[in-house]
C-alpha cells in the first residue's frame, strides 16, 4: 500500500516535469531558429576555462577563454603563423629590422583602425610597451623589456631591449596593442579600468560580455585584412566538460574552445551526423618536477633515475589517454629540428630501477616492501603534488603511485586545488612537496620555457619549480637567447637538453594529442596546429571558418 502511494507521488512529479517541458519546449525551438539565421560560430568552454573580467592581466595567458578572446579582438604586431612552418606573420607591423638584435625598428600599417574609428599609430604601440610590463608581472618577458622607446613617426617605432633578442622570431610576441586614447587615463592602475567595451583593432569586435557566461563577438567589417566569414562568434560556457560535449553533439556549439577533449569521450562522437573528429599533435608536455631544495632522498640523482626507470609511460598513455599520447623526453617537441635526438632514455625497467636503488644503499631493511633511506632508516615515502582540476594528471598520479610501489617507493598523493598547487610550487621555504606533476604548453616558439631550469638564485626564481641550480646551464641559456645564428642556437639547445636529461631536475613524461570533434555540417575551414583547432597559438580557425551553404 505504501509503495503504491510512493509511486503515485513520483508519477505526479514526473508528469509535472513533462508538463513544464511541454510549456517551454516552444522557447527551445525559437532559440534554434534564431541561430539558423546568421553565420553564427559557437564555441564551447567549461566554467573553469571562462574569464570573469576583460582586464588584461592573467586572463590573457592563464585562462583558456582569455587566450582565445584577446587575439580575436586585439591585433598584435605579428603573430605566429599556422602549421607546419609556424613562421612569423606581420599583422599591425608590416616589417621590422635590427642590426644588433637589441635595437629594433617596426614599421606599421597605415590602414588599421580601432573599433571606435581611431587610427592605430606608433603612439599606441609605444604606450602598450610601456604600460604592460609596468602593470602586471605576467607581462614581463625579455622580448618586451625595453630600455628605451622612441616614436619616429606615426607609423614607425624604435625600441631598445635590455638584452639581445635572437632566434627566428622578432620581439614583442603575444602582445595585444591597446588604444592609448582609451587606456591613458587608467595607466597607473590596470585594475581601475574594467575594459567593458574592449575596444581593439582585431578582426572581431565585442558585442556583449557576460562574466563567466559568454562572450558575443561580431566580425569587424572595417578590418584592414580579410573580414572573417563567421559574422558572429559566441564563446559559451558550460558547467562541465560533459555538458560541453553534449552541446556539440546537439549542434549547440561547433567546436571545443581549448586544446582537446578527454580521449574517453571520443567514442561518443564516432558516427554522430555532421561531426568530424580531428586529431592533431599535442601542445602540452607533462613532466615531474623534483624538489631539489628539499634535503631528502629526492635530491639523490640515483633515486630520481630509479623513479624514471620505474615509470611505465606506455601504461600511462594507454590507460589515462587511451593511447592518444606520445612519450616526451624534453621541453622541446620531438619533431622540431632543435630537439636533441640523442638524449638518454629511461625505458620502463623495474629491475634496473631496483638495482639503482639498491646500489645507492636504498634497501628494504624492515621487510615492509618499501625501501629504507640508508641515512635515516625511514621508509622512502614521497609526496606527489597535483591539482584536482587536472583530471588527466590526477589519473597519472594514481598510476604512478601503483608503479612506484613495484620498485619499493611509496607515493603519497597530495591533491589540492589549482591555485594552492601553484602556490606550493613556488614556495621553497615551505617545501610543500617532494615531487609534483607539471605541464606547460610551450608552442613552437618557446625560448621562455627554458627559464624553468634557469638557476634558482640566478633569476630562475618564480619559474624554476625544481629549485635547480646549474651555472653552466645558465650560460648556454643566455647565449641561446641572444644568438641569431641558427646552428649556434641549436648547439646551445642540444647542450641544454642534454644537461637536463642528465641532472634530472625534471622527469619528462608525455605529450598528449589534441582530439577535436568539430561540426563539419555547419562550417568548413577548421585550421589545425599542434594543440588542435583552437589554442593560444591558434586563432586561425576563427579567421578561416566558412559557413556551409
Amino acid at each position: 500500500m505504501r509503495k503504491n502511494s510512493l509511486s503515485k507521488m513520483f508519477i505526479v512529479m514526473i508528469i509535472l516535469i513533462f508538463a513544464g517541458s511541454a510549456l517551454f519546449a516552444g522557447g527551445q525551438k525559437d532559440g534554434k531558429s534564431a541561430k539558423a539565421n546568421d553565420a553564427r560560430f559557437n564555441v564551447g568552454f567549461t566554467t573553469e576555462e571562462a574569464i570573469s573580467t576583460l582586464i588584461p592581466d592573467e586572463s590573457w595567458q592563464y585562462v583558456e577563454m582569455g587566450c582565445i578572446f584577446w587575439p580575436l579582438v586585439y591585433d598584435q604586431l605579428w603573430v605566429m603563423g599556422p602549421a607546419p612552418d609556424y613562421k612569423p606573420v606581420p599583422m599591425l607591423a608590416t616589417s621590422w629590422e635590427t642590426e644588433d638584435n637589441q635595437t629594433w625598428i617596426f614599421h606599421l600599417r597605415k590602414d588599421a583602425k580601432f573599433h571606435d574609428g581611431v587610427a592605430v599609430t606608433a603612439e599606441d604601440v609605444a604606450f602598450t610597451l610601456e604600460y604592460f610590463p609596468a602593470s602586471d608581472p605576467a607581462w614581463e618577458y625579455e622580448d618586451t623589456d625595453c630600455e628605451d622607446i622612441q616614436v619616429i613617426d606615426d607609423y614607425t617605432i624604435q625600441f631598445t631591449l635590455s638584452a639581445k633578442h635572437g632566434g627566428d622570431y622578432p620581439p614583442v610576441y603575444w602582445t595585444p596593442i591597446l588604444p592609448k586614447h582609451i587606456w591613458e587615463d587608467y595607466k597607473d592602475d590596470m585594475h581601475s579600468f574594467n575594459n567593458d567595451d574592449a575596444i581593439g583593432s582585431g578582426p572581431f569586435h565585442l558585442k556583449e560580455f557576460q562574466s563567466e557566461q559568454y562572450i558575443w563577438l561580431e566580425s569587424n567589417e572595417d578590418y584592414w585584412g580579410n573580414v572573417p566569414e563567421a559574422k558572429t562568434v559566441v564563446l559559451k560556457t558550460y558547467g562541465s566538460s560533459e555538458a560541453e560535449y553534449m552541446a556539440l553533439k546537439k549542434g549547440e556549439i561547433d567546436m571545443i574552445g581549448y586544446n582537446s577533449i578527454d580521449p574517453l569521450a571520443l567514442d561518443g562522437f564516432k558516427g554522430v551526423d555532421g561531426v568530424e573528429v580531428k586529431i592533431d599533435p599535442g601542445i602540452t608536455i607533462d613532466w615531474l618536477s623534483f624538489n631539489l631544495h628539499k634535503e631528502n632522498a629526492i635530491s639523490d640523482l640515483n633515486v630520481r633515475k630509479a623513479i624514471m626507470y620505474g615509470i611505465d609511460t606506455e601504461r600511462l598513455i594507454s590507460l589515462a589517454f587511451l593511447g592518444y599520447a606520445d612519450p616526451a623526453d624534453s621541453f622541446m617537441y620531438t619533431e622540431l629540428p632543435d630537439h636533441n635526438p640523442n638524449l638518454p632514455q629511461f625505458d620502463y625497467n623495474v629491475s634496473k630501477a631496483k638495482s639503482i636503488l639498491a646500489g645507492a644503499g636504498y634497501k628494504d631493511t624492515d621487510g615492509d616492501g618499501i625501501v629504507n633511506d640508508p641515512k635515516s632508516g625511514d621508509n622512502l615515502v614521497f609526496e606527489l603534488l597535483g591539482p584536482s582540476d587536472w583530471t588527466m594528471e590526477v589519473k597519472m598520479i594514481t598510476l604512478i603511485k601503483e608503479q612506484m610501489k613495484d620498485i619499493g617507493i611509496e607515493i603519497s598523493p597530495k591533491i589540492v586545488d589549482l591555485d594552492t598547487y601553484y602556490e606550493f610550487w613556488y614556495a621553497p621555504e615551505e617545501d610543500s612537496f617532494d615531487i609534483s606533476i607539471g605541464n606547460e604548453e610551450p608552442g613552437p616558439h618557446a625560448d621562455w620555457i627554458w627559464e624553468f631550469a634557469r638557476s634558482w638564485d640566478n633569476g630562475g626564481e618564480g619559474w624554476n619549480c625544481a629549485y635547480y641550480n646549474n651555472a653552466e646551464f645558465d650560460e648556454y641559456l643566455d647565449d641561446m637567447a641572444e644568438q641569431s645564428d641558427i646552428d649556434a642556437r641549436r648547439a646551445d639547445l642540444y647542450k641544454m637538453q642534454e644537461i637536463l636529461a642528465n641532472d634530472l631536475p625534471y622527469g619528462f613524461l608525455l605529450r598528449y594529442k589534441s582530439i577535436n570533434p568539430v561540426r563539419s555540417d555547419k562550417f568548413t575551414g577548421y585550421t589545425s596546429t599542434m594543440g588542435g583547432v583552437s589554442t593560444w597559438i591558434n586563432p586561425w580557425s576563427y579567421y578561416n571558418v566558412k559557413p556551409v551553404k
Binding site: S241, L264, A265, T398, D417
Partner: protein, 301 residues
C-alpha cells in the same frame, strides 16, 4: 548505608536494563524503525564483510581494455575510467560513510553534551557565554563554512570528520541544555543535592542518564548529517584523494565527461548514499516517536 546503596544501584541497573529492552523492542516494532534498522544492519554487514564480498582493491587500476566496461560476470557493477572495479568501490565506500557518520556523531554528541550539561547545570554567566557561542555557531551558514574549512585544512578523512563535528555540535548542546533545565527542577535532583552529592556526581551520575535517550535520537540525526556532508564535500572535490568514497566516485564521474555513457558508475553510489541516509532518517523518526511520552501506552492498546 553502603549495603542499601549497593542494593539501590542494582535495582537501578535492573530497571535501566529493562527500559533499554523495552525501548529496543518498541523500536523494532515501529514500522519505520524496522526498515531503518534493517538498512543500517545491511550496510554494517557490507562494511565489515567487504573483503569477503568478492571485492578487489578498489583503487587498483585495470588494463586498457577494462576501461568503462558495463556490468558483467566479472565486474558486477562495471568499471570506471581507470578500469577500477565499481562494485568494490561501492562496498568499500560504505566503510568511509559509516566511519565518518559514527565518529562525527560521537564527537558531536560528546562536545554537545558536555557544553549542554555545563551550561544547563551551572546557569548564570557560564550559561550565557556558552549559549552565546552556540548561537554564534548556529548562525553560520553550514555548507559554505564546511567548504572553506575543508579547503583550508586540506583533503583528508579526519579533516572532514573534524569539520562536520565542528559545525554540528551546537544543536546537541541546545537540546541537552533545555533537557537539563527541566530536569534540574525535578525532586530527585533536589533530594540528591540535599544529601550532599557533589556537582560532578549530580551532573554525570543523576542527570546524564536521563539525557541518554534524547542523545540517542540526536546521534542518529548527526550520523545522517555527517554522511550527507561527506558526500557533498567529496562531490565538490574536497574529499580524501587516497580513499574512494561514494561522494568522490560521483566527483570523478561528474568530471569524467562520460557520465551519461556509464550509468553503472553513477547510480550505485547515488543509490547507496540515499539508501543509507534514508535508513538513518527512518530510524531517527522511529526513535523520536518511541521517546514520546505515552507512546508505549498507545502501542500497548
Amino acid at each position: 548505608m553502603s549495603d542499601i546503596s549497593l542494593n539501590n544501584k542494582q535495582k537501578k541497573t535492573k530497571i535501566r536494563r529493562q527500559k533499554i529492552k523495552d525501548f529496543i523492542s518498541l523500536l523494532i516494532n515501529h514500522r519505520m524503525g524496522k526498515v531503518g534498522v534493517g538498512v543500517i544492519i545491511f550496510f554494517l554487514f557490507i562494511a565489515f564483510a567487504a573483503p569477503l564480498l568478492r571485492t578487489v582493491n578498489p583503487h587498483q587500476s585495470g588494463n586498457a581494455v577494462e576501461i568503462l566496461i558495463p556490468p558483467d560476470g566479472q565486474f558486477w557493477f562495471g568499471t570506471d575510467d581507470l578500469g577500477r572495479d565499481v562494485w568494490s568501490q561501492v562496498i568499500y565506500g560504505s566503510r568511509i560513510s559509516l566511519l565518518i557518520g559514527f565518529i562525527s556523531a560521537l564527537a558531536t554528541i560528546l562536545t554537545g553534551t558536555l557544553v549542554g550539561i555545563i551550561a544547563g547545570f551551572y546557569g548564570g554567566i557560564i550559561e550565557e557565554i556558552l549559549m552565546r557561542i552556540v548561537d554564534f555557531f548556529m548562525m553560520l551558514p553550514a555548507l559554505p563554512l564546511m567548504i572553506v574549512l575543508a579547503a583550508v585544512l586540506g583533503p583528508s578523512i579526519w579533516n572532514i570528520i573534524f569539520v562536520v563535528s565542528l559545525i554540528s555540535w551546537p544543536t546537541t548542546a541546545r537540546v541537552v541544555r533545555s533537557q537539563i533545565l527541566s530536569l534540574k527542577e525535578r525532586p530527585f535532583i533536589e533530594a540528591s543535592r540535599c544529601i550532599g552529592a557533589s556537582n560532578s556526581l549530580l551532573m554525570f551520575g543523576e542527570i546524564f542518564p536521563n539525557v541518554v535517550p534524547i542523545l540517542f535520537a540526536e546521534a542518529v540525526i548527526m550520523i545522517t548529517e555527517a554522511i550527507y556532508a561527506e558526500a557533498v564535500l567529496s562531490f565538490l572535490g574536497l574529499g580524501d584523494p587516497v580513499r574512494m568514497s561514494w561522494g568522490s566516485m560521483l566527483h570523478f564521474a561528474f568530471d569524467s565527461g562520460v557520465m551519461a555513457r556509464a550509468p553503472w558508475w553513477v547510480l550505485p553510489p547515488i543509490l547507496s548514499i540515499i539508501l543509507l541516509i534514508v535508513g538513518f532518517s527512518f530510524l531517527g523518526t522511529a526513535v523520536s516517536d518511541v521517546l514520546k511520552p505515552g507512546y508505549k501506552e498507545t502501542k500497548g492498546l
